[in-house]
Subunit: 201 residues, 2 copies
């Protein structure tokens, strides 16, 4: 009886010897891939923060005062004149604020990839802010287009001849916001892949 | 020796007996949940198709001809006058077309839940059309707001007093498109959960 027990012990230890390195290798590989994905996620978040801040700041400082030569008073154009631009600034500020707050969580999920619930929460919030910023960027783009080229059917005049500097700044802000949206889309795709990798392990 | 071997066999078969029903039960439960989620996905797609078609059709038929009483000619308002509304109709048509094409795939992934790659493809395309329809809906909303209330700073007059019927139809189309966007958001969330369930199995 003691002899057979010993043989069983040897067999089981043989088995573990044969399998352990393989499992360890695959785990290490997956963990390395996860680290790289986590770093990419962090960098994308940083880039999106910069783009969102640039968009909000450019739109927020787009005031322009133009003198009326015929009459002795001045006309001012500001993002505050149009509700869509106000929404744009708020949405971009919310986006930048959310992304800054999400940075520590991004690092945390990179260091502790086992906490899947945090990743899922980040993923859902990412989709929400993606929709928010897409909405604000495209609404502002529609208004900027109107400001540039006007619309003869509704008798809306183009105002960019008058407020050239204002229009340029506003257009720049819209471009920056679309750059932020692209970064966000990449982030959402990456988050999805990280989630899949986490879940499959 | 033979005696000890026999005892080992019995032990292992006992183990498998103890575990097999449990695994089967869990699998059946997960499969049932997946079926329900698949049906929800299908119904949401149908609802989003209807909302998108209503939005596109309402916007597309929003022509209005108003007689000018003082002069003897007529003025026509049409969605075609504004590039944003043209983009809206195209985006809603694309959305409805994509959703109709995705219906058989949705059914297929419901019947064969093991084909994860198809689900991932659907998920990515869902996020893309979600962004597209959010962009078109919010851009149209910005223009509709202008048409309703105008903007004194840029000297853009409200045109809804003149074209009341046109404005009402256009506003209805924007509301329908936002309903479609909400259905799409629910779909994306559901797809994410289905993916997680699939990957965890």
């Amino acid at each position: 009886m003691p002899k057979s027990d010993a043989s069983i012990d040897i067999e089981s230890s043989d088995e573990s010897k044969g399998k352990a390195p393989l499992i360890g290798d695959a785990k290490e590989k997956t963990s390395g891939l996860k680290k790289v994905m986590g770093i990419c996620d962090f960098v994308l978040r940083l880039a999106a923060i910069i783009a969102a801040l640039v968009a909000a700041a450019t739109m927020g400082t787009s005031d322009e005062t133009v003198p009326f030569f015929t009459q002795f008073f001045q006309v001012q154009a500001s993002y505050d004149d149009l509700p869509t631009f106000r929404f744009f600034v708020i949405a971009m500020a919310v986006l930048a604020g959310y992304l800054v707050l999400s940075l520590p969580f991004s690092v945390f999920t990179m260091l502790r990839p086992n906490i899947v619930i945090l990743r899922i929460l980040l993923f859902i919030l990412d989709i929400v802010v993606l929709s928010l910023s897409t909405a604000s960027a495209s609404a502002a783009a529609a208004i900027v287009y109107l400001a540039h080229s006007g619309n003869p059917n509704t008798n809306w005049q183009a105002v960019c001849q008058q407020f050239g500097d204002f229009c340029q700044k506003v257009s720049g802000a819209v471009v920056a916001s679309f750059v932020a949206v692209v970064f966000l889309m990449l982030m959402v795709l990456l988050s999805g892949f990280i989630l899949l990798k986490n879940a499959k392990k």
